[in-house]
Amino acid sequence: MLWRKIARHILALTLTVLLGGLLSAFLVRLAPGFTVDEAQLDPRLNSASVRALRESRLADRNILSFYFHSLNRALHGDLGTSISLGEPVTTLLRQRIPQTLRLVSIGVLLSWAAALALALSAAWLRVSAYDVLNTILSGAFLCIPAAVLALLSVLWNVPGSLAIALIVFPRVYRYTRNLLAKAYFLPHIITARVKGLSELRILLWHVVPVVAPQLLAVAGVSVSIAIGAAIPVEALCGLAGIGQLAWQAALARDLPLLTNITILVTLVTLLANSGADVIGDMLRGQRA
């Protein structure tokens, strides 16, 4: 049963990634300014050079042909060459992935640490003033746009991962807090409390196992949120990661680079979500 579910996930993931890449390629192709290069405005370039520049941009105008050729090349390990940076896409991704991986993983860990600490303490203490304070805090961070948090991190000279953490934190906190609050009203937990079990034992033995599968699902979503936040954070903080590369590629209408980044981001997001889903199912299976 579980294997069938994993197989279904792999199939869905493959199809979504392929479609996501194709959609991205279409959107870039349809974006105004796809066929032009800023360099052609250089007054020193003669007409032949301007035409050559233009022709080079038009080489990929048939998107279906571009996409299938790209997939064919990708199967042989070649992801093409970036139009705007003139480097192989494989090299660019290899150079930038570690930065984004570091940024996103630290950001997600920090956000989870903060969200769990606050949500668990609120659930444990059950003091309404404390709960309200936490809700206001998370609500405030939810209202601040990602770009503003990124700019503040630059202004205060704090790591970009903290901005990512503050972007992810309110989403994780609210969901976790609601799950815990609901869990405390389950009959077996009320019974445990009536029987005089300690709060810590109730939390660790009765509440956490109940909410763990749902929390895992949120973990998958939080990875997607962090990857999305990495684009403004890296672009504004000048961090050389995938997010900054995606931003540059979008501005330059860099079809090969943008398509590959979309495929990569879709793949990572889906893997995180599917992984969380499968592990959640396994946990639920164990409990059953």
Binding site: G33, F34, V36, R44, L45, N46, A48, A240, G241, Q248
Partner: protein, 544 residues
């Protein structure tokens, strides 16, 4: 035999003397060290190959690492010898002969000779290269011939005269014909030591650099240059304030004032630069705009009246906080030789503009200007989104033209969309943009002025000149390009400037001042108007 206590004292004295000597040596070494200069590149360098350079970041790296035969002094605007001891241009302007310095090596130790110059020129003139540097030498069909006369002498012959031939070599960094390191072997003061894509480029002093100062000390003084890739100007300013970087080129006027208010000694206003801000109307006959609008835009009287109704003083004073000068014509007054001093500044007069329009059949009805067929005069003015100065200029132009009954709709587009409209679909009415001039010679703008050119922005790729004045500009630009006599070239280009001001295909608005910031720790900096403003004399800079 010395008593033991005396031997002990001697040892102590020797140890102290040795410590003082070592400390002095360390202090001397520290004094000799030029330190590390840090500043920002605003984009990723697209290439380290000096022949393919087109973007600003790569131009900066080429300037710092490339060895050139001749270099234009950015302060005096005079050409000075570098790798070439002397040079001579033939009377017909087709040939140049260089006498090279001997005993020079590339950064990797490969010796430099005429063979490297020949190799560089052949690579540069490859028709498939399509680089701005190479195209500047292409004045006619045919091949370039290089003749190595001796290891230190070479002549280069072009198929047609090249205007300002010797000055063009300021942009040509010499490559090694033999080094296995290819373009990474350099003759300039620095060499690329490390590159972290998206983050930094580290340049280290070239140990084989040939220049020495008056005291015989090898140049450059600096040990290294750290170039941080930082597209965000706010972050760049913040880092300068924190002392994380030492220079800012092309500083925004708003930041200049903010920084100047706190530390006036750190900011420098070198006066009007070569760059201009200008607007123009779409004059393309096949443009998808209403035909009555095309009639307005193709009328010199209409364009002149619009020009007259724009208050350039206010643009300079308000938008650029006084750090800009009202533009007079296609050449900034900063370009000492080529600026036509006979041209008069455009006077702001909405009344005269209105009268001129009325004499062309336009009339003012209830505050709205209408043409002779009753069409209200209204057009959209496009500029690039995110450029706050152009957005403010567009808003002020909108207000100015409202005074003569003209309604302007300001539209901002991202740059690729704007270029597409400007160069391919011609789906626009008026554009407000800037022109960045990297060189002084008008030949570098040849592809703007020739009517057949792709970069003839108001009406590109004309099969034959569509107006008499464009035909005259074509003829004058070709005449100046084919002459080796600077006086004749100046006469021809002066006429071009007069025609452009008279016909107003471009409405020149302001020349922005060259603003920069230099940290107090940088010694020897003397910012100028020409790029690279703050580090043009990089060999003489040091950081303490």
């Amino acid at each position: 035999m010395r008593p033991p206590e005396k031997v002990g004292r001697m040892k102590f004295v020797k140890a102290v003397a040795l410590s003082i000597f070592v400390a002095s040596l360390a202090a001397f070494a520290a004094a000799q060290s030029g330190g590390e200069l840090r500043f920002c590149l605003r984009s990723e360098p697209k290439t380290f190959d000096p022949l393919k350079v087109e973007d600003d970041a790569s131009v900066a790296i080429r300037y710092l690492t490339g060895g050139v035969l001749v270099r234009m002094n950015r302060q005096t605007q005079v050409l000075e010898p570098e790798l070439a001891q002397s040079w001579k241009v033939s009377k017909d302007g087709k040939q140049i002969t260089f006498k090279l310095r001997s005993g020079i090596s590339f950064s990797d130790g490969t010796p430099f000779s005429a063979e490297d110059v020949a190799y560089t020129v052949q690579q540069l003139m490859d028709p498939n290269l399509h680089s701005p540097t190479g195209d500047a030498f292409r004045s006619g069909p045919g091949n370039v011939e290089t003749k190595i006369i001796s290891p230190t002498q070479i002549s280069i012959t072009f198929p047609a005269p090249v205007a300002g031939l010797d000055r063009q070599f300021d942009q040509v960094a010499i490559l090694s014909a033999h080094s296995p390191k290819k373009e990474m072997a350099v003759l300039g003061p620095f060499m690329v030591a490390d590159y972290q894509p998206g983050s930094t480029v580290l340049l280290k002093r070239n140990p084989n650099y040939w220049k020495r100062d008056a005291q015989g000390r090898q140049l450059p003084y600096l040990d290294s240059i750290r170039l941080d890739i930082q597209p965000n100007r706010d972050v760049e300013l913040l880092r300068f304030k924190r002392g994380e970087i030492d220079l800012i080129n092309s500083l925004d006027s708003e930041y200049f004032d903010k920084l100047g208010a706190a530390s006036p000694q750190l900011v420098h206003d070198a006066g009007p630069s070569l760059d201009s801000e200008q607007m123009w109307f779409d004059q393309v006959s096949k443009a998808p705009i209403a035909s009555y609008k095309k009639t307005w835009f193709r009328s010199p009287a209409f364009r002149r009246a619009i020009s007259q109704a724009i208050n350039r003083d206010d643009l300079s004073r308000i938008v650029f906080r006084g750090h800009a000068q009202p533009a007079i014509g296609p050449v900034s007054s900063a370009n000492k030789f080529w600026f036509n001093a006979k041209l008069k500044p455009q006077t702001y007069s909405p009344d005269s503009a209105l009268k001129a329009l009325q004499s062309e059949g336009f009339r003012l009805e209830n505050g709205t200007l209408k043409d002779k067929d009753g069409n209200a005069v209204e057009f959209s003015l496009i500029t690039n989104a995110g450029n706050k100065y152009r957005e403010r200029m567009a808003a002020m132009i909108q207000d100015d033209l409202q005074k003569i009954g003209v309604r302007v709709n300001v539209v901002t587009l991202d740059f690729p969309s704007l270029i597409e409209r400007m160069t391919q679909t011609f789906d626009y009415e008026a554009i407000l943009l800037g022109l960045t001039n990297v060189g002084l010679d008008p030949n570098e703008q040849m592809n703007v002025w020739l009517s057949s050119s792709e970069n003839h922005q108001w009406n590109p790729q004309e099969k034959a000149p569509e107006t008499a004045w464009e035909a005259e500009i074509d003829q004058l630009m070709r005449a100046q390009a084919s002459s080796a006599d600077p006086r004749k070239r100046k006469e021809a280009f002066d006429q071009v400037q007069e025609i452009v001001v008279e016909q107003a295909p471009f409405i020149y608005l302001v020349n922005r001042n060259a603003l920069s910031a230099v940290a107090a720790s940088v010694h020897g900096a003397s910012p100028v108007i020409l790029a690279p403003q703050t580090y043009w004399n990089i060999e003489s800079l040091s950081v303490h």
